[in-house]
Structure formats: C-alpha cells, structure tokens
C-alpha cells in the first residue's frame, strides 16, 4: 500500500501542475452554480436538489475527461514500462491511480459546500440527506473512475479512452430510464446495474447496504479488469 500512496501523491500533484484541473473545476462550478442560483432566485426554493440532479449529468463527461489519461498517456510516452518494471505489483499501480483520480473528483465537489452554507443562512436544510447525497456522488464517481481507468488501460489513445468510458458510463446511467422498453423479467436486473438508480435512492437520504454493495463490487470488478488489462502485455 505504501507504493500506492507514492503513486497517488505523484498523480494528484500532476493534475494540479497543469492548468487542466483548475479549468475543469471552474467549469464544473459555473454549471452547478448556474443551476443552483437559478433555482434559488427564479423558483425561490431552498434546496440542493437542483445541484444533485445536474451533477450526475456532468459526471458523465467529467469523469472520462479526468481518467482518460491515467494509463493512455503512460502507454503513449512509454513511462508505463518504467512503472511496470519497478518492484511494485500491478494492482498497487491501479489502486494508486484510482485513488488519485477519485480524490480529484471528490475535491471538485468540495467548493459546492458553499451552496449548502448559503442555503443554511436562508432557512432550514436537511443535512442528513445532503451528506448522504454527497456520499452517493463520491460512490458514483468511484464506479465511473473505475470504468475510466479500465478504458484508459486498453488504449494509448486518450480520445478513444474518453469515448469508450463515456459510452459505458452513459449506458450505466441510462439503464433505469429505458425500463419501459425492456421485457419484464429483465427490469429488476437492469435497474440493479444502473448507477443512477442506486444514486437516487442514496440521495433520498437512505444509505442502504444493497446500494453500497453495488458500488463497491462494481469498483472491485472494474479495477481487477484494469489490472488484467495491464497484465495482458505478457500474453
């Protein structure tokens, strides 16, 4: 785990040595801010609902964008060879990269706490469901980041990595919205695979183990797939 931490630190730092992370965070805040204020001032409702409704949509693009370079860039520049010939296991590398990308995603959410604070000055807010929704967003980001890492480990082309992870995430997200077109026996299964289904139940303030199991098992499977994809160089 020490090695994962070393990689984690380097990766996180590299996000912030280039302007990319800052630009992405600013864009993220502008979009959520617009939804937050328009709801507050136009509709006159004191709620974080509008923010929590829009963030899953932003994540569809945002997570592929921050995770596409994780392995693709190293494959392209050849630094992957340096990394994979160090005395560390492939899985430690995957974990280090996963944690750094997820941390960046979580850090992006931090400034939105300002919205919660400003709501607090205007009236009563339900902290329970807000905290629960934040946890839901981080878990959702977690599963998307795992998809992003896997896609990135498949190719040295960042654009391909972006498109593949976007597609997979989009399908995961949309599954519970197309249930009317699906034969009845498949409904509950597709619903369970859908990332948004679990998020909406968490965002209502209910932290069910069923949802947690979904997120954690999903992440584990995808990270193991990523590790396998790294090992495929040896086949």
């Amino acid at each position: 785990m020490k090695n994962s931490l070393t990689i984690f630190k380097r990766e996180l730092k590299s996000y912030f040595t280039s302007p990319v992370a800052y630009i992405i965070i600013v864009v993220f805040l502008i979009i959520t801010g617009w939804f937050f204020t328009s709801n507050l001032f136009v509709a006159g409702v004191i709620t974080m609902r509008s923010v929590f409704d829009i963030v899953p949509f932003i994540l569809l693009f945002y997570i592929p964008a921050i995770s596409m370079r994780t392995f693709s860039e190293e494959k392209k520049s050849g630094t992957i060879e340096l990394l994979l010939t160090k005395p560390i296991s492939d899985f430690e590398i995957v974990i280090g990269k996963f944690l750094s990308t997820l941390t960046l995603a979580a850090l992006t959410l931090v400034p939105t706490i300002v919205y919660v604070i400003s709501l607090k000055t205007l009236g009563p807010v339900d902290f329970g469901s807000i905290i629960s929704a934040y946890i839901g967003l981080v878990l959702m980001s977690g599963i998307y980041v795992s998809v992003g890492l896997f896609a990135s480990s498949l190719t040295e082309n960042q654009v391909v990595a972006f498109i593949v992870s976007f597609l997979v995430i989009f399908i995961l997200f949309m599954l519970n919205k197309i249930l009317v077109y699906v034969p009845a026996p498949l409904v509950s299964m597709l619903e369970y695979i859908s990332s948004d289904y679990h998020f909406s139940s968490i965002a209502r303030g209910v932290l069910d183990t069923k949802d947690l199991i979904y997120y954690f098992s999903g992440m584990s499977i995808l990270l193991l797939l990523t590790k396998t994809s790294l090992e495929s160089r040896k086949w």
């Binding site: 380097r10 630094t79 990394l83 994979l84 010939t85 005395p87 160089r233």
Partner: protein
Amino acid sequence: MSIKVENLSKFYGTQQAVKDISFEVKTGEIVGFLGPNGAGKSTTMKMITTYLTPNNGSILVNDIDAQENPIDVRRKIGYLPEQNPLYQEMNVVDYLKYTAELQSVPKENIPDAVKKMIKVCGLEEVKHKDISELSKGYKQRVGLAQAMIHNPDVILLDEPTSGLDPNQIIEIRKLIRDLGKHKTLMLSTHILQEVQATCDRVIIINNGEIVADGTTDSLQKSFQGQLNIHIIIKKDPKYGRDKLVSALETIKNVEKVKIISDDENSWTVDLTATKGIDVREEIFRKIVSLDMVLLELHQDETSLEDIFRKLTT
C-alpha cells in the same frame, strides 16, 4: 550479480521475436547486445526486466527466477528503456525522489541517494528544472540516474545513446563505463563503435538468434585472415544481377558473393575468400573473360563492422 538466460523464446502472435537464446553475463562484465533494428534486443531486455514474459525458457538474475519472483528481480535491476521515457512535467529532483520511493529505497536514505545521483550524473545545474525543458543529453542523464538510484546490481540500458549528438555520446559512454565498473551491465545498441568503446564482451543477435558471442578481440581474431574483397563493376546489358553473381561464385576459393548496391551504372559487390588465399587475380581474370569492365577492386581485413554485417545480413 549475474544474468543467466536459458533457451529463451518469445512469440508476438505467430511471429517469433526471440528464438531459443541462451547466454550468461557475469559479475562486473559490461556486455554489448548488438544487432540490427528488430533483431530482438529490446524484447530480450524486456523479458529480463520482467516487463514481458517469455513463452519458453528461464531467466535467472542473481539466481532468482524472473518468472517466479518478478518483484525481487526488479529490485536488483536498474533499467533504462528505449527512447528514455520520463515524466516530462516533473522536475529532476522530484522525479528522482519518486523513483527512489518506488524502488523502496529506505526513506531516510532517499535525499542522499538523490544527491549522489545528481552528482554522479552531472545534473547539478538542472536539478530544479522540469524534465521537459532539458536537452536530450541531460534527459539521458536523468534516465541513467533513475536507473541507478537504488544502487542495483544489474543495469540494463536499451540504446542509451540513440539520438544524442557526438559530444553527448562520448560523455554518456564515459558515464556508462564509470558506472559499470562494479556492476553487471548490459547495453543494447545497433552502433558498433559503441560496443568497441564501452563493452568487454559482445553478443550479436540477428532475427532473434545469437550469431556470435565473445570479447571484441576474440571475435576479431576468429574472423581474421578471412579477406574481404570489394569490387565495383560497370553495368552491362548482357548480364543481369543473377548471372553476374553466379559467374563470380564459380571462381575458386570464393565463398560468398553479395551485391551490396545496385545503381544506374554499376554494381558494388562484396566477396569473401577462403582464409589466407588471395583471389584478386582470379576475380580480375573472370571479369575480363566475361567481357565486363572492372572499375574498382580492393581488399581489406575483417573489421568488427564486417563481422557484424556478415552475421546479420
């Protein structure tokens, strides 16, 4: 501090990149791994570093099996991959620290290890610069520094001087010689002078097979006496390439005939004669009898370059 490779094979799909090779590199040796591009040098090195897994055969580094204990083997090895990949956005000191950490150098020794490498590799002036800003020569030094920061027993350098200017090449070669004094060092190259300038021993590989293995002196000696005749013949519409070659092959004591260039007006041909026999006169007479025009003929003794060319074409 040794590398022992036995019956190593590697396939990429159906193509066999490395064919059943065996060799040993002993403690303190500097071995040049020489071959044309695509001969299987990098593939072999990648297998020693455990980046790739061989389809067949075994690799022992310090008597540790590379397939059974890859992590232990990696600890013993310092590796500079081809093209010298580096994290361009990091500065030199941060990058070396990062490498040291990943190589599990004890935390308290890292500052000293970094300082030492900066000194040995002459990076003092640029240590706070981003790697992307460095010249190619300095980048190569950073690559060497990262390969040796954990004081490995075995150092593998894949084309360490490619893309450098002549002055940088001399500097890097000197650095390699100094660093290799107490280590087992293996470097791959397709440049002959490099082997002559830095290595004690040379392994020549072609099409995935080892075609020669020995000290540069012994190789030269074993090929000595064999004479190389170089001729240029004016083209004649009466004779095609093949006809010329077969005619020349009929000369007594000529062992090998090869057209090395074929331009508008002339053919350049290399001939190898049986040891110790002068065939120049025979060649001249043959060409005259064919009613062709001999433009040039000279004979030279085998250099390492000739050995290389003979073995790899």
